[in-house]
Symmetry: C2
Subunit: 536 residues, 2 copies
């Protein structure tokens, strides 16, 4: 059973061992464990549904609660403390485009706001009900999950847009294909969610961001059905896919999506390389990204993240031996770990890895083989469970991410980290901060920063702490020329920072597009961009 | 000096030798040479300019004529026969964003239509004045041509949007960089033109379509300046670049563009492989495109194109020897030529070529080395000059292109070719038709078909012939599920076929975007999509 107030399956626990807890205590002090509200207590918070009855709508408090929020830190605070706030008045589970159109007509008739809800894994407040006075219906898309068509020759698969990551991959694997889109939320996020939030996966270097794999689809909108045909490429005016990508439920409800799939590769491997310091590591990573080397993943941890990962890994003696060995090879304090992935035909992949490792050596990189890489692959979707474990011991974990050009990657990293480190000074709290570059491009990289800090034990205080931290790091991002999100989307948490990058003219254009498809403002109101007229 | 009524520089002549003429005569009969109108005769066609004077506007007939049309076949007919029709009332050559804003204000004040004019190489009627009753100003962007900024670390270059292909590459080469965008119009087309028509170049397999290299820019619109920031990637809502790409002058005038550039590669080579028949050639090409092999170009000619290229190549004895040799290796009538390019580090490129040639062998491909490839590279921008030569002998050459999924590539090729072959039957004229796949993707390929047919010697008859042919092939494209353009854009020639792929909802969305930026309908009116309300 999926956790209602945390990440993942209830049966899966990722413990923090004593060494890890000691590490955190040294850095930021002992945590303050908080007593969680029960599911029943949380349900009791919900007011009665105000929706006119409809055969497709479930108004039970349990269903409403499970579709009320996502996985952002403020969402967690609401769930853990049992301070739900406004929730949808009901949840519909449409099983066809026809049923979605029926729900849109219902919404128009009664002026009901519609919040499209996929896997509920948003970490940016996409799913929150912002206006408590407005009737609101969550449209859960997860029953739109069928493999509708597979064209093996053209490597195209059409799915119901609510299909979950693992179900999508399983359906494709049965035919020898895969999509290869692996965000950390993979286990619970949906294809449609990836598309409307412009998601990116861990192996995007090979398989592309969702923008590259989304080839076409069907969106039900208040202005009718928008069918986006799938072409290999086209110069025929505006690419309609791009209106759907990143639309975050403001344009319509995506019911079907066609994606470009790949043959399951013959071979896959992840290797780790340590560098003596950030400058050498970044230079190597940049050269690898700009070298078109045919790699499938590059992921570079800075020194604090490297230390943290080694500390949390357990296996104290093994890690101790590794560190001694690395130290003899020049990688001591300040060392940074680069993970390199290859996938494909065995000969091609091995050649690419050899070339990559050769380039790393020129930058004093020390190759330690596949051990850490295999471990990373094994835990690639497990690390999110650490958030549950940390919470149990009284620590909050949150992340923020951006992307910038290479010439600003290092200064961005320092700006975000130092903003975070001092953000809770007024609360006399320290923040443990570390960063990795999760997605590398020829132009630049995503800068993905994690914060660990102590819970206060009080809902209001924890919300204040989160807001202070979020504002500090988001301001650092836009002030340093980064995008407010590289892979999580905008939702409500990032919306205040969007105009800094889009400009007044860009925001107005986005509003014009959404107003065209949704003139009555029924769709996910208040998310992404403010209603017309409120920008500039 | 650039030709005013044909392609390219007046000093460059590409002759058709007797064998080539004999080949065409056998196929479609002897040509009917037409006497061209003189530049003076054509200028005399233009009515007096009706524009209120402005310091930036040149109203001389010579300048107006040189900025009146593009390179489509109907444009050629107008120029060659001296039947210009409506032309702009003046031409402005702005040198800054400020001057473009000034021109937009002028246009608003006097209700003047603005046609953005880059290199004037459109083959889809983007530049034509459609409404003779409307005051019209061509805005020639070619003085916006400076390299404004080069960030070597992030491999980003910002140019004035009117920079011509060769000037852009020369500016980058001085620093060891290149863009690598090589449409056949490269010598005269502009960066801005590539962007607003979603152009694609010959080596897009490595360097990407213009969509992949266009990172950001500045557009002057009647609603103000739209500045699109350049991020390596972003999940922050609508990608504003995508509103600019393919906007064909309907949204604003692009003044600056930032592009992702690459280091000049160490090594480059083009090899040719012949296959016994289309089926084997297509299967090999598809596997190469789906194999992520790190190639920079794939270009597959069908049997008739292969024969035509060999016939037009001259060097009769050399080609004869090659054909004998190929025949002994199983490539006789029906053989198809695949051109394979690699670029990059020498070892990496050679490994990729070896792997590609190995795969071709499995499909009975016969590798003939670099001779044909070197020849192709040498003539990559020269083949367009053949149009001038053919015209001199009384033949028209036109092309049409689309893109479809692999499962429909062969049927599309046959549909377009047979539509073309019979399109002039009512005129008792034959059409010589051949096709290549110019851009190959994992999902499918572009299908690029060339037609050669005889001129009638009469403007009206030639326009009727062209219309019959264009309608036949365009209908075949949309009826078979292709996009109306893979690389040339929509303009006015393809506009009637756009709704077949975008749907009424898609057309309405495009209209909404353009209406938002240009509520008075000043920008390139009538191109791309009909004015609001005329679609559905």
């Amino acid at each position: 059973m999926r956790r209602w107030n945390g990440w993942g399956d209830e049966a899966i626990e990722f413990a923090l061992n004593e060494d890890a807890l000691g590490f955190l205590a040294t850095r930021i002090g002992n945590g303050n464990p908080v007593a969680d509200a029960s599911f029943e207590q949380a349900c009791a918070q919900l007011g009665a549904s105000r929706l006119p009855p409809h055969r497709l709508i479930d108004t039970s408090p349990a269903t409403r609660l499970r579709n009320a929020l996502g996985q952002s830190l403020p969402d967690w605070l609401k769930l853990r403390y049992g301070r739900i706030g406004p929730a949808p008045d009901g949840v519909a589970f449409p099983e066809s485009g026809q049923e979605v159109r029926e729900l849109i007509n219902y919404a128009r008739l009664y002026g009901v706001a519609l919040i499209a809800h996929g896997g509920g894994t948003s970490v940016a407040g996409h799913l929150t009900v912002l206006d408590p006075f407005r009737l609101t219906l969550a449209v859960n898309t997860t029953r739109l999950c069928r493999l509708i068509h597979l064209d093996q020759q053209s490597q195209l698969a059409t799915f119901g847009a609510g299909v979950l990551g693992p179900d999508l991959e399983a359906a494709l694997r049965a035919h020898g294909f895969m999509l290869g889109h692996y965000p950390q939320s993979f286990e619970y996020s949906t294809l449609g969610g990836w598309i409307v939030t412009r998601s990116s996966g861990q192996q995007s270097l090979r398989y592309g961001r969702i923008e590259q794999t989304f080839a076409g689809g069907v969106v039900e909108t208040p202005q009718g059905t928008l069918e986006v045909q799938a072409f290999p490429a086209s110069a025929a005016g505006t690419d309609l896919r791009e209106l759907v990508l990143g639309s975050e439920g403001r344009l319509g409800i995506l019911t079907e999506a066609t994606v470009r799939v790949s043959k399951v590769p013959e071979y896959e491997a992840f290797h780790a390389v340590f560098f003596p310091n950030w400058q050498q590591a970044e230079a190597a990573a940049r050269e690898l990204a700009q070298g078109r080397m045919g790699l499938s993943m590059l992921r570079l941890s800075n020194a604090v993240e490297t230390v943290t990962m080694l500390a949390l890994a357990g296996h104290k003696r093994l890690i101790g031996a590794l560190e001694t060995w690395l130290s003899l090879r020049g990688c001591r304090d300040g060392k940074c770990m680069l993970m390199i992935g290859v996938s494909g035909g065995k000969a091609q992949a091995k050649t690419a890895m050899r070339a990559a490792l050769g380039l790393c050596r020129e930058h004093k990189g020390v190759h330690i083989g596949r051990m850490m890489g295999d471990k990373w692959k094994q835990n690639r979707f497990r690390n999110v469970y650490l958030r549950n474990a940390a919470w149990q011991y009284g620590y909050a974990i949150d992340t923020v991410e951006t992307a910038v050009d290479w010439s600003r990657v290092e200064s961005m990293m320092h700006a975000v980290e130092s903003a975070a480190e001092t953000a809770l000074a007024a609360h006399q709290e320290k923040v443990h901060v570390y960063t990795h570059l999760s997605h590398l491009y020829a132009q630049g990289a995503s800068v993905y920063t994690t914060f660990v800090y102590r819970l206060s034990g009080n809902y209001e205080d924890d919300l204040v702490r989160w807001k202070a931290l979020k504002h500090a790091v988001s301001s650092a991002i836009v002030d340093n020329g980064g995008t407010i999100s590289h892979q999580h989307g905008v939702g409500s948490d990032h919306a205040p920072y969007l105009e800094a990058e889009k400009g007044a003219a860009g925001i107005a254009a986005m509003q014009a597009v959404f107003r065209h498809f949704d003139p009555e403002g029924l769709l996910n109101p208040g998310k992404l961009v403010p209603p017309q007229g409120l920008a500039a």
